[in-house]
């Protein structure tokens, strides 16, 4: 399995994602520079956290114009797995690969702490190794993580079983406690919490591994 980790100017969780995949899970991971028009031979792509292009204008608003995003859209259309974490989620939303928006946290302050998430569906390539209702403890670290969409979009997400994770202790005011959602084709997921920060036994929780392990499992199944 080969993961591609995209590096935008200002990405700062790129190395963490790379380390979790390569050292904690033992799979291959390579960096993909933002002005690359190709994803190389990546089997799955991670858009990591950080402050791409300084998050000027709006979080993720400039990143969507980078050459690599055109390649990622194509990759997603062809069914490739794309995981956006934190700033990566914001970029996916800005690019239109996922619906809704991520607004400033309700309390108007950056928040970094472990949160408890409930896995709402195991019917995605990102949670297939989990069970529905499973609780996982993963840290959040963001200033703009309040998930927002109109009622109809929220209803659609729920009706189509696309709310992948919810907060038990909502840290940012997200509507309907949404922490992560997937695309209609279920192969693109965005989540605000950081599974890569909960993948090493030394760091207190390995609950985040289930996301990366699900991806590996899905790719094995697809390629088989």
């Amino acid at each position: 399995m080969r993961f591609g980790v995209v590096v935008f100017p200002g990405s700062n969780c790129d190395h963490d994602a790379w380390y979790a995949v390569s050292h904690n899970l033992g799979h291959q991971a390579e960096f993909i520079w933002h002005d690359s028009a190709s994803l190389g031979n990546a089997d799955a792509v991670i858009l990591p956290g950080g402050f791409s292009y300084g998050d000027y204008l709006r979080c993720g608003a400039i990143a969507k114009f980078s050459p690599v995003m055109a390649a990622i859209k194509k990759f997603a259309q062809d069914g490739g797995l794309v995981l956006g974490i934190c700033n990566g989620f914001q970029i996916l939303v800005e690019s239109g690969l996922l619906p809704g928006a991520l607004l400033r946290n309700r309390q108007l302050r950056f928040v970094c702490r472990p949160v408890t998430l409930r896995v709402e569906t195991a019917h995605t390539p990102f949670t297939s190794a989990a069970t529905k209702g499973q609780l996982i403890k993963v840290p959040v670290a963001h200033g703009e993580g309040c998930y927002f969409a109109d009622q109809r979009t929220l209803d659609t997400l729920e009706a189509e079983d696309r709310v992948v994770m919810r907060y038990l202790d909502n840290p940012n005011g997200s509507l309907r406690d949404i922490a992560g959602i997937c695309s209609e084709g279920r192969n693109v997921m965005g989540m605000m919490p950081h599974p890569e920060r909960a993948s090493d036994p030394l760091l207190g929780s390995t609950d985040g591994r289930v996301v990366l392990e699900s991806m590996v499992r899905s790719m094995v199944t697809t390629n088989a």
């Binding site: 100017p9 200002g10 700062n12 969780c13 190395h15 963490d16 380390y19 979790a20 050292h23 956290g49 950080g50 402050f51 292009y53 300084g54 998050d55 000027y56 309700r106 309390q107 108007l108 302050r109 950056f110 928040v111 970094c112 702490r113 840290p139 670290a141 200033g143 950081h194 890569e196 920060r197 993948s199 090493d200 030394l202 760091l203």
Partner: protein, 732 residues
């Protein structure tokens, strides 16, 4: 405009052999400012120990460097941004973080941890409370803004409130980075004819005279100095970090230095001085953000996120290519020469010509008068200390006080876990990051105590070093090296200068004793507003090493475990109780002297707890510090497990429960005999105080119950106090 003293101007004339022009006068003024030249403190800083087998680079470079084994090293330093943070809290604190991060990566190290020691006036101060709350919120947001975006975890520090910081908050930022020995770079302009390259943000008019502002007292006019505060861009800094490290790896970089205080002036002359070379630059080539800047303004600008590097001649393009990739300016603005002079041209016309060595290293050195007793803000004699009417209420009052309450509201705004190295984040005795490449971890503790130091600068300083080393030992780390930030008032007043000298000597004695040489630091003087000085506030940052493993933390983990006090109950008398949090919070008084310290005994306690932790015998471990034993017990109960304690003491209850005698560590264990043996082997006391239990903290003395409180109540008060203090202006 010249801030040079008449004698200094005379020295300038002698060096140049002529009258300096306006640009040259400006250059001398900033380089010889207190901030850049340490002219009042240098004489005394020489007393500090600076060497050990581990020290690879000591004071004088951008940061000190310590060997951590297996070919790896760490670079670290602490620096203040006090004056800017008062004038403009958000940007002042943000650029404080930016400046220290550049000091670390200019040496080639990747920053992996930041800690902050921040001090404000009381949040409930009747006159200044509103402003103090605003400054705190701004400072915290500034630190969060910069560190979070840059991608370095902010994992510890301290927040303290005293009236003396009402008009002069302190913002001291510690940063630490990691690299291999063969990745170390220095700020040296070597190699005749090598190009001098400017990289990073463009130069604007911001921050001109920041260094000299930081070298003067605050007056009413200081509020007009807002334009002197720089504006930070952490995104630019992140790009600069990546680009600089990548450029260093090309092998084409010869030397590199950040442009911090005194900007282009400081970086050019220091790089030349260290290499004993000259540096010639043309200001017309300097990337500029605004038009019409004079040479004086360009040389003195303190615009942020800029670096100066010297490349190997002929390999410039390799450097340029890296900076192009990261979208940053990189321009050759001059070259290294052989005449030892800083020659500044503007469109080819020489506008300044000064010998580098004299400018950088021959700054005036003052032996300021200090032959008087250090200024004391409090009497020596103890007042009548009333019998407490309710010891439970006293404990709750202490837990709700600004200094002792949980700082969660602050540190939840900091990214503590980015880079996935944080083994122990904020709220522990020491912060710990693992080094992924080596299996070693680095523990860090930052500590100050203006209260102790104002009662006795020498004893207070020694206590600080002891406390930092105790914090490190409590998590199992061996203290190896230190950095210090000396925050004082106006050194031209002998009673303030005496505080500084006594504190430096106290630090020197303790750092020698605990084998933690000082590898660099910062001196911030003139911390005075309208003639009122802050208390003497040296802040220590000490680093320790330990094997990477799950950390031993403060909270009790399980019921039925032995609660033990390593080091014993300690002793105290009325004069030595006057600097405690109990005296401050409950009695609203200060007097006497700080707690007495026996450094030999203290060191044995450190050795014992390290051994206990290393053998895996401690389930929890906590340094007994501010607030004394009872506050330490309450903090150990924070996760829900309480304790039943019995104190075999002759002291009156207020003293026994709340005195702050050093050399004590509280721990819980299920192998008390093994702990006792280690204590005996190290020739220190070790008491079994009681056992952990469900839900309550109870402290008895003979048949009397002194403290009895539900753990949940303790936690609630402790956790919510800061938010309550801030609530008058907090949103939602």
């Amino acid at each position: 405009m010249s801030d040079l003293a008449p004698s200094e101007l005379e020295k300038v004339r002698k060096i140049l052999g002529r009258e300096p022009n306006q640009t040259e006068t400006g250059i001398f003024t900033v380089m010889w400012s207190e901030h850049c030249s340490y002219k009042s403190s240098r004489l005394h800083l020489k007393k500090l120990p600076t060497r050990s087998d581990r020290v690879l680079v000591g004071p004088g470079e951008n940061a000190g460097i310590i060997d951590i084994g297996q070919g790896y090293a760490i670079a670290f330093k602490i620096e203040s941004h006090n004056h800017p943070s008062f004038i403009e809290p958000f940007q002042g604190a943000a650029t404080g973080v930016g400046g220290i991060l550049r000091d670390i990566f200019t040496m080639g190290a990747r920053p992996i941890a930041v800690l902050d020691a921040i001090r404000f006036g009381p949040l409930d101060d009747p006159e200044c409370g509103d402003r103090n709350r605003r400054i705190l919120e701004g400072v915290v947001e500034g630190i969060a803004h910069y560190g979070n975006c840059f991608g370095v975890p902010t994992i510890g520090g301290e927040t303290v409130f005293e009236r003396c910081y009402n008009g002069n908050p302190l913002v001291n930022v510690f940063a630490l980075g990691v690299f291999r020995h063969d990745e170390i770079f220095f700020g040296r302009a070597t190699g005749l004819g090598n190009p001098v390259i400017y990289v990073g943000a463009k130069t604007g008019r911001d921050g001109i005279h920041g260094a000299s502002m930081a070298s003067a007292e605050f007056t009413e006019e200081s509020k007009q100095k807002r334009p002197n505060v720089q504006v930070g861009d952490p995104f630019m800094e992140k790009l600069l970090l990546e680009a600089c490290i990548e450029a260093m790896h090309t092998g084409a970089v010869v030397g590199i230095q950040d442009m911090g205080a005194a900007g282009l002036t400081c970086s050019t002359c220091e790089m030349g001085s260290r290499a004993e070379t000259g540096v010639e630059i043309d200001l017309a080539r300097v990337p500029q953000r605004e038009s019409g800047m004079t040479p004086y303004e360009i040389m003195l600008s303190e615009s942020q996120e800029r670096m100066l590097l010297v490349a190997e001649k002929g390999r410039e393009e390799e450097v340029f290519a890296v900076f192009r990739k990261w979208g940053l300016d990189a321009v050759t603005i001059g070259e290294v020469t052989g005449d030892g002079k800083l020659r500044v041209k503007d469109h080819g016309v020489v506008v300044a010509e000064i010998p580098n060595r004299e400018l950088a290293d021959e700054a005036p050195l003052y032996d300021r008068p200090h032959g008087v007793a250090p200024y004391r803000p409090a009497p020596m004699e103890a007042p009548e200390i009333p019998r407490s009417r309710d010891l439970n209420a006293d404990l709750l009052e202490l837990l709700a006080s600004g200094d002792l309450c949980s700082k969660r509201w602050i540190w939840q705004q900091y990214d503590q876990s980015v880079r996935t190295n944080t083994l122990q984040g904020p709220g522990g005795d020491a912060a710990i990051v693992r080094i992924k490449e080596t299996g070693t971890s680095v523990a860090m503790s930052v500590d100050g105590n203006g209260r102790y130091c104002s009662l006795s600068p020498r004893e207070g300083a020694r206590l600080l070093v002891a406390e930092c080393c105790r914090n490190l030992s409590a998590v199992g780390a061996l203290p190896v090296a230190a950095t210090n930030n000396l925050n004082f008032g106006n050194p031209e007043r002998p009673e303030i200068m005496a505080q500084l000298v006594e504190a430096i000597e106290g630090i020197a004695e303790a750092c020698k004793h605990f084998e933690t040489p000082i590898t660099g630091g910062n001196v911030s003087l003139y911390n005075e507003t309208l003639g009122e000085a802050i208390w003497p506030t040296p802040v220590m940052g000490i680093v320790g090493l330990l094997k990477t493993a799950p950390p031993v933390t403060i909270p009790f983990k399980a019921e039925g475990r032995a609660v033990m006090l390593l080091g014993g109950l300690g002793t105290v008398d009325a004069p030595r109780f006057g600097g405690t949090q109990y005296a401050k919070v409950v009695l609203n008084k200060m007097w006497g002297l700080p707690p007495a310290l026996d450094m030999d005994y203290e060191k044995r306690v450190h050795a014992a707890i390290r051994e206990i932790v290393a053998q895996g015998l401690a389930e929890s471990s906590h340094d007994v510090g501010d607030g004394g034993l009872t506050v330490a017990l309450a903090e150990s109960c924070a996760e829900g497990t309480g304790a039943s304690i019995s104190l075999p003491t002759e002291l009156r209850p207020e003293f026994a429960l709340f005195h702050e005698g050093p050399s004590r560590i509280l721990l819980s264990t299920n192998t008390p005999e093994a702990v006792e043996k280690i204590a005996r082997d190290n020739n220190i006391e070790c008491l079994r105080l009681g056992v952990t239990m469900k839900e309550r903290l109870q402290i008895d003395h003979n048949s009397e119950t002194w403290i009895d409180c539900r753990v949940e109540r303790l936690r609630e008060v402790w956790e919510n106090a800061l938010e309550n203090l801030l609530s008058p202006i907090s949103v939602g």
